[in-house]
């Protein structure tokens, strides 16, 4: 019953935000993701890959294909959750996972025997990708909808419809790049993103292409970074407390340009360059040309079209010391590239000053270069309290757990 109520409300929310889509489009324009395709010289049949929205039996998961560095092992932690994406953990160890197309939030609990139980906690929401737990309360950001579910781990079988904080957060309403990443900071604030409602276009740089933070009630909005095209992954450094974020580069500029990027936010409000520059590359498709030295340079280049999404600092002790405070990054994998790129998890290695010294492979084997197919799309990572690493895989709706033994 409660789930039906949420479903109906989610549909209404979807309807009410559609006018925003229309405003963002010119009459008879190509779809937003295709703007810039004309004249790009890239294969005209390139299009985003659709997710699988039905349950994949565990025996069909590509566990055997996963390759990890020496000493690491992957196991299936949870499965049967179509479209599972961004993760957050409750104080009692419940893992929550958001989604996009299928509109669900999942909850995964551990049984006494060590196996896991998955529930569809919420459904019918419009791309509830933003998931965070703060003080035992679950925050969910769907497109133009912010909900809080108090004491969620005491209410997994009856979450209710939540407290609607949409008006307080007053996020932009566009559907395109309107899905959110959400995380918490040690300052008790919620950190999220506002993507740009297009591939590349002239837009309001005070309202879009931002990293923003709020108090949990939606007040005190602060712009953490400008000119970040569409970040779907961020985390605060466990020692310096600086905000770091991944960012998706734009499409149709070529198979190898631009790169997706990793950003380090040293001071709130600085400009990271979109739509004008990615690093020292001045985008010829930008509304005007600017000198790239005006902008904060990315901390690292993460590869062209890889869709670098969820990222977390490794704060556990199970993995070798070399991983401590390094960044695990899920690269969901390309669509706007004639040869596949990404579909893996990498580690950004930082030196003592927080400079990125290397991007190293970590989880591989899901990209089949010979046949140009993929076996999975890692979308988020999460460090559990025992130091193991969860990897959410969207295409087949599974979460893998990676452990290390010497």
């Amino acid at each position: 019953m409660m789930r039906n109520t949420i479903a109906a409300a989610g549909f209404l929310a979807a309807l009410t935000c559609l006018p925003g889509v229309i405003q963002a489009q010119q009459p008879a324009a190509p779809p937003a993701w295709a703007i810039g395709r004309e004249g790009s010289g890239m294969a005209g049949t390139l299009a985003p890959h659709a997710p699988r929205l039905t349950v994949t039996p565990p025996a069909q998961l590509p566990l055997a294909a996963i390759r990890l560095p020496q000493g690491f092992t992957a196991e299936v932690y949870a499965h049967g959750m179509p479209g599972a994406r961004m993760m957050a953990e409750g104080p009692n160890g419940t893992i929550f996972a958001g989604s996009r197309t299928i509109g669900r939030v999942y909850a995964i609990t551990r049984n006494p025997d060590g196996t896991t139980r998955t529930r569809t906690l919420l459904q019918g929401l419009n791309q509830p990708n933003g998931i965070a737990v703060l003080d035992g309360n679950l925050y969910v950001i769907a497109i133009n909808r912010v909900l809080r579910f108090d004491n969620i781990e005491q209410n997994l079988d009856n979450p209710g419809s939540g407290t609607d904080l949409t008006a307080a957060f007053a996020l932009p309403t566009e559907e395109h790049h309107g899905w959110k990443f959400l995380t918490t900071g040690p300052d008790g604030r919620l950190y999220t993103n506002v993507g740009v409602p297009c591939n590349i276009c002239d837009f309001n740089r005070d309202t879009h292409a931002l990293l923003v933070s709020f108090r949990p009630d939606g007040s005190d909005r602060r712009i953490e970074a400008r000119g970040v095209r569409n970040s779907v992954g961020m985390a605060l450094h466990p020692v310096t407390r600086e905000l770091w974020a991944t960012n998706n580069g734009r499409d149709w500029a070529g198979n190898d340009i631009p790169n997706d990027t990793l950003h380090r936010v040293r001071r709130s409000g600085e400009d990271h360059g979109f739509p004008f520059c990615v690093g020292d590359w001045a985008d010829p498709g930008a509304p005007s040309q600017r000198n790239c030295s005006e902008f904060v340079q990315p901390a690292a280049l993460l590869g062209p079209h890889v869709a670098a999404l969820g990222m977390r600092f490794y704060t556990g002790t199970m993995f070798p010391e070399a991983y401590r405070n390094q960044i695990f990054i899920a690269r969901r994998g390309s669509w706007n590239r004639e040869r596949l790129n990404g579909f893996d998890v990498v580690v950004a290695k930082l030196d003592a000053e927080g400079r990125v010294t290397a991007i190293e492979p970590f989880l591989e084997g899901l990209r089949d270069d010979a046949n140009q197919r993929f076996l999975g799309r890692p979308v988020d990572v999460h460090v559990m309290r025992d130091g193991s690493l969860l990897v959410a895989e969207e295409q087949f709706g599974a979460i893998y757990r990676i452990t290390y033994r010497q």
Binding site: L18, Q60, A65, T101, I102, D368, R373
Partner: protein
């Protein structure tokens, strides 16, 4: 490398073993799907789509959207309740395996209207996603030979934001397209094949 290759063979993007067209045919019979969509998946009912030869992924996605209340289209929301994911995949495999054909009552082509529709299709790049023969792929439906009234209805729904796909691409494509243009586009597509 051998291990990886073996895994590849077992796990295609959409594992074939999960779908069974024969089970889907039995389920379609039991559920009476053919009453509206036609016994062979060729619809003879106004504003009801033909499903024969649709990509399995397209049918699966739409059925999930119906079941989850993410796409509202009576009576499909009610009819899809209680279907397990595996049943949805079986239904999709069944309809994907049927041979597409134009509905029996398809009218004669209007050359001038079809020509306008073709020009519009070129302008809107329909063939990029739906493929040049409009047979569809993956989550993108076959529109060649679809019922003209259904195409008109659907295109207007996309234009008027009454329907979305798995994303908002079609809403963006159809924005600002007039009723007369939709009529031409629908006629052109319905007359393909």
């Amino acid at each position: 490398m051998t291990l990886v290759a073996a895994a590849l063979a077992a796990t295609a993007l959409f594992p074939a073993a999960a779908q069974d067209a024969a089970r889907g045919a039995a389920l379609a019979e039991a559920r009476g799907c053919g009453g509206c969509h036609g016994a062979a998946g060729i619809s003879e009912v106004a504003n009801t789509p033909s499903l024969a030869g649709q990509p399995a992924e397209f049918i699966t996605l739409q059925m999930i959207l119906f079941r989850e209340g993410l796409r509202q289209a009576a009576p499909m929301n009610a009819l899809s309740q209680g279907l397990e994911d595996g049943q949805v995949e079986d239904l999709a495999a069944h309809y994907a395996a049927l041979t597409p054909a134009a509905p029996p009552g398809r009218g004669a082509p209007d050359a001038a209207l079809a020509e306008r529709g073709q020009a519009l299709s070129d302008r809107l790049h329909c063939g990029v996603c739906h493929l040049p023969d409009f047979s569809g792929r993956n989550q993108i439906p076959r529109i060649a030979g679809q019922r003209e009234d259904f195409l008109r209805h659907t295109l207007a729904q996309y234009r008027d934001s009454q329907r979305r796909g798995t994303d908002t691409n079609m809403n963006a494509v159809m924005h600002g397209v007039t009723d007369a243009e939709i009529a031409a586009l629908a006629h052109f597509m319905a007359q393909q094949r």
